[in-house]
Symmetry: C2
Subunit: 206 residues, 2 copies
Amino acid sequence: MKLSLEALEVLDAIDRHGSFAAAGEALFKVPSSISYMIGKLEEDLGVTLFDRTGLKAKLTPTGQAVLEDGRRLLRGAIELERRAKKIEAGWESELRIAVDVILPFRILLPYITTFYGENSQTRLLFSHEVSGGPWEALLDGRADFAIGALDHAPNLPGFSSCSIGQVQSAFAVAPGHPLADAVEPLDRSVIGQYRQVEIQDTSRQR
Amino acid sequence: MKLSLEALEVLDAIDRHGSFAAAGEALFKVPSSISYMIGKLEEDLGVTLFDRTGLKAKLTPTGQAVLEDGRRLLRGAIELERRAKKIEAGWESELRIAVDVILPFRILLPYITTFYGENSQTRLLFSHEVSGGPWEALLDGRADFAIGALDHAPNLPGFSSCSIGQVQSAFAVAPGHPLADAVEPLDRSVIGQYRQVEIQDTSRQR
DNA sequence: CCCACTTACGTATCGCGTAATCATG
DNA sequence: CATGATTACGCGATACGTAAGTGGG
C-alpha cells in the first residue's frame, strides 16, 4: 500500500484552503512540509496531481479525481474509528437519521418526543437529504437509518427497508413550454429532450 | 486522522494467515514489528483489537469490525490508485463488468465477441455476483458496469440504469413443508416465519 | 518445554522545521 | 517586489530489527 491517509488529508486541505501555504497554516505545518507530502504522494502514485505553472498550484484532472476518491476514503476512515469505539462501548450513543426533504419534518416530531421519552441515553441526529441522498447517506455510513428514501431499496446485504407510504407528484410545465402541447402520457425519453434542473443540497460540496 | 492503512494491512494479514508470526512472515516483517503496529493501532483507536489470553491472539468483536471496515478501506485505496493511473493514461485499459448469476452467461457471449471485434484495446473482466452483489460491486468500485442487477436502481448520483427485461421466479416448497398448506397469496411476513437460506458467493470472504 | 506474543533497546529512515532559492504576476 | 512553491540541510520522532522475557498448552 503506497498511499497514506495523511497525504490525502493534506490534499483535502490544499483544495479547501486554496494553496499549499494556506493548507499548511490550517494543519499547523510549514509550507515545505506540505510540498514534501504532495511530492511524495505523487511519486508513490506515479501521477502528477498539481500543475505548477502559475503562482498557485492547480489540481490536474488526476488530482481532482484523487481528491474526490480520497475524501471518500477519509470519511470511511472516520467512520471506522467511530464504529470501533461504539462497539467497544457496547451501545449506540447516537443514532443518525437521514430524512428526505420530501417529508414535512413536523410529521416526525411526535415520534421524536416519544423516543426521547423512552430513551434519553441515545441522541438523535437528523440530516436532510434530497433525491438519492438518503441512500447515499446510508451507504457512505453517514447515517444509521433513513426515512423517506425514494425508489425501491437496492437489495444490499446489511440493509432492509419497508414501505411507509406513497408520495404523489405533479409534473408541471409553463404554458409556453413545448411539453405543454406534447401528447400524453409523457415518456421519459420525451421529457429527457429538454433541460432539467435538479435541486441538490450543496452543503457537502461546500 | 489517527489511523494508517499500513496498520490495516497488517491486521488483514494477521487474520488471513492466522497469527502475528505468520503475518510477519508474509509481510517480510519480524514479529515484534507486527506486535508494535497492532499495539499502536489499538492505542490510536482507543480500543482492544485482540484477546491475548491463549496461545494465539484472537480478534475481539471490535477487532472483527475494524478488520471488516478496514478491508473496505483498503479496497477503496487500491481503487483510488487504479483510477488515478487510469486517468493519467487517459483511457480505460479494462472494463470490469459484474454479472448476476441469474443470467445465463452464454447470453453475453455474442456481445463479447462483437465488443472485441470493434475494440481490442480494452480488456473485459467479468465477475459473477448474486443477490445484491452487482450493486455492491458498483458501489464498492469493484465494477464499472453491472448486468442483471435485480431490484430497482437506487437513485444514486453517478449511476444510471435501464431495464433489460423481466425474470420469472417460482416459489417452491416441499410437499411436507408447512407453507405447502398455507393460504395463498403468501405474504412476506408469513414466509418470514420459516427458515430461509441464501446462497452467497463466498469467494470474497475466502 | 515449545511456540507465540511482548518488551527492551539500538538504529536507520522519514517527516518536518529553518532558511535560502526560484518563479510568477 | 510580494506571494507562493521548491530545495538543501539538520534534527527528532517513529518504525523496525535483534535479542531477551513472559506465558499458555
